[in-house]
């Protein structure tokens, strides 16, 4: 698949997956890949502390946009911001002519009561903000502070279980509230989520049994209950496959004119056996995923580093691009 057509499929990409699978890493890699294709990209985090800023080696994100990675070398800018329900509510109230009471509503903690009164309202406020940013992009609206709208918006969604209720909030609210501004907002959000030309969900998993099971479950829930369109699945942390793992270290050393240090033969053999076992397991899981879910898979390599930085994000962005190119172009049959 051509990276440009993958990236232009929708203006909003929601990255979702169970906790610990590397959603945030994938968000960063996708954003950087898009920027290198020339798309100015805005990364949104919604739960705070996502670690996305750390990946770009920057301080924690704020409600106001900051540059995560400047443009240069033919790449566009990656910007980022964190969305909070309180800030989104304030903006929403001000936009709806309730500026006078808005501060008081938030300051008295009435937000908590309002959120209790209409569950999912926090989620709708956040998604409503995403929709507003998307619309600004379509219209080319420049923000009051002079920032141009982003070509691509990548949302680092809450962890799996919550991701479903997060994305279901619009449907839930539409059932509960039939009139008024919240209802309108929920309807707009649902339109965004269910329009494949505007929004797609990229699910992230690891090549392991439980994460694969949960990914498949989440995928069906999201398609059936929310009606979102699913993009390719990203499998994160795939061990790059090494051959030669079953050779005997002593023989291999001899044929390579190398002398093993004491105990080294055992260490080399044990490490090789471990990797080989994980490689077999991961191949099984990738196969199982392909069977259970007819979506293209994009594999990101495990980097054998416990701390990732900007250089790693670039590496993963390259890997993601290569994986997208390797996906066969979808056949375009007439409707």
């Amino acid at each position: 698949m051509d990276p440009a057509s993958f990236l232009h499929a929708s203006r909003v990409v929601i990255v979702a997956g169970k906790g610990g699978v590397g959603k945030t890493t994938v968000t960063a890699a996708l954003a950087r890949m898009a920027a290198r294709e020339g798309l100015s990209t805005l990364v949104l985090e919604v739960e705070g502390k996502s670690g996305i800023a750390g990946l770009f080696e920057k301080a924690a994100l704020t409600y106001d946009e900051v540059v995560l990675c400047p443009s240069g070398d033919g790449a566009a800018e990656v910007r980022g911001r964190t969305l909070t329900p309180d800030d989104a509510l304030l903006e929403y109230l001000e936009d709806h002519g309730l500026k006078r009471v808005s501060r008081r509503l938030v300051a008295t903690g009435a937000m908590d009561v309002v959120a209790t009164a209409a569950p999912g309202i926090k989620d709708i406020l956040l998604l409503g903000k995403v929709k507003q940013l998307e619309r600004a992009g379509d219209a080319g609206t420049v923000a009051p502070d002079g920032t141009a709208p982003a070509d691509l918006i990548v949302l680092d969604a809450p962890a799996a279980g919550h991701a479903i209720s997060f994305l279901l909030s619009a449907r839930g609210l539409l059932d509960a509230v039939r009139v008024g501004p919240v209802s309108t907002q929920a309807r707009d959000v649902l339109e965004l989520l269910t329009d494949p030309a505007r929004c797609q969900v990229v699910l992230v998993t690891l090549p392991e049994e439980t994460p694969v099971n949960e990914l498949v479950e989440t995928a069906f829930h999201l398609e059936d209950r929310v009606g979102v369109s699913l993009g390719p699945v990203v499998v994160n942390g795939v061990y790059p496959v090494l051959g030669d793992l079953d050779v005997d270290p002593v023989e291999a050393a001899a044929s390579g004119d190398t002398t093993l240090r004491s105990g080294e033969g055992e260490a080399l053999a044990a490490a090789a056996a471990f990797r080989s076992a994980r490689q077999t397991l991961q191949a099984e899981q990738l196969g199982r995923l392909a069977e259970a879910l007819p979506l293209p898979q994009l594999h990101l390599p495990f980097l054998f580093r416990s701390d990732l930085g900007l250089a790693d994000v670039d590496l993963l962005a390259d890997a993601l691009r290569a994986a997208v190119i390797a996906v066969p172009e979808p056949s375009r049959s007439a409707p």
Partner: protein, 370 residues
């Protein structure tokens, strides 16, 4: 403070709470602790919050429900498991504290109640504490309709980003009930619609404009129906809080050796300490194994020199794992200090995925130093 091994905790405590961020192996750790309880002859129950069927799969049973299921196995004690059903736990609580059946019915049928009992974030954490209390005090009803008591309750906390929500959940409910906005909403009924002050009315109108009149009406009728039950709920919340702080209750922190989960675990350990609750153990899951001694630089150097040959590949692989293990050890170094003197147990990333009792046993071998 005496430090106890995880094995001693399982032998001596009546409640163990597994806390940590999502995806670190909390559910698995909770299952292994409960299994060990059964092995030690205790009657243990593990409550999972996770809606996914993974614990059921691991324990070799078809599915888990809100009802306690006994897991048969070759151990002297008993092992039971159940999955938290937030809504029915909340319904039971309403039934317990309602003045009469009619009040319970009014609440259970209220749309606002149905929304908060099923979907509201925070309700899950609150009900986890509630279930823990119920299991500890009253036991659970078995599929045969018999109530059975347990002497060890292991709870797997909700996979929230912030594990603190679990600690604060019942306190949050209490403060919600005490909130002056709630009191304002309640004012119309209390004062029989007459003495509502103008400011409150204006405020309610504003909230109504934002969320829509229907939602507000539902909420008002919920609070009206709820009237009189606050004291019962408040008292119950205090009991849950007391149980979390009791001597027989221990918190086991679960983390994986990544910067973000380690930071969160350290934050949680601090919070526990300031609440006079100590971390009784730290389990770090998925540590990459370390193979042999030597120095990382030397392996990598040989891998470079011998690149392209089979022995070069073996060296590169060894160096990969060593880099990973070193990085992970560096991440958890600070955390082990902040939970001291609690024991720190490292569980290696296994060559196979944890999916049945046999693989749980592999984890147990590390947790209990066998």
């Amino acid at each position: 403070m005496t430090e106890r091994t995880l094995s001693q905790l399982v032998a001596e405590q009546s409640v163990i709470v597994c806390a940590g961020s999502g995806g670190v192996g909390k559910t698995t750790t909770a299952a292994v602790l409960a299994l060990e309880g059964a092995r030690q002859g205790r009657k243990a129950v593990v409550v999972t919050i996770d809606p996914a069927k993974r614990l059921a799969d691991t324990l070799g049973i078809a599915s888990l429900s809100n009802q306690a299921t006994k897991i048969e196995g070759d151990w002297p004690g008993e092992l039971w498991a159940l999955m938290l059903d937030v809504k029915s736990t909340f319904d039971d609580l309403i039934a317990t504290y309602a003045g009469d059946a009619a009040q319970a019915k009014r609440i259970l049928e209220n749309r606002f109640y149905r929304n908060i009992s099923g979907a509201l974030s925070g309700t899950q954490e609150y009900m986890a504490g509630e279930k823990l209390y119920e299991l500890h005090e009253l036991g659970a009803e078995t599929p045969d309709g018999v109530r059975t008591r347990f002497d060890l309750v292991i709870v797997d906390t909700p996979p929230t980003r912030n594990a603190l929500d679990f600690l604060d959940a019942s306190r949050r409910l209490t403060s919600f009930l005490d909130h002056r906005v709630y009191k304002m909403l309640m004012a119309p009924t209390r004062a029989y619609m007459k003495a509502v002050n103008v400011a409150a009315q204006a405020f309610i109108r504003t909230v109504g404009r934002v969320v829509g009149g229907e939602v507000l009406d539902d909420a008002l009728s919920f609070f009206t129906a709820f009237d009189g039950m606050e004291d019962g709920f408040r008292e119950r919340a205090a009991h849950v809080q007391a149980l979390l702080g009791a001597d027989g209750t221990s918190f086991v922190l679960v983390a994986s050796p990544r910067r973000d989960t380690v930071e969160e675990a350290a934050f949680f350990a601090d919070k526990l300490r300031t609440s006079d609750l100590a971390v009784a153990g730290l389990v770090v899951n998925r540590m990459h194994p370390r193979f042999g001694g030597g120095t990382p630089g030397a392996d990598r150097q040989r891998a470079r020199t011998l690149v392209g040959s089979p022995i070069g590949t073996l060296y590169a692989n060894l160096a990969d794992f060593r880099d990973m293990a070193d990085g992970e050890e560096a991440h958890i170094a600070g955390l082990t200090g902040s939970v001291a003197p609690a024991p720190v147990v490292r569980v290696p990333f296994l060559a196979e995925d944890v999916h049945d009792l046999a693989t749980l046993e592999q984890i147990a071998a590390h947790l209990f130093d066998r």
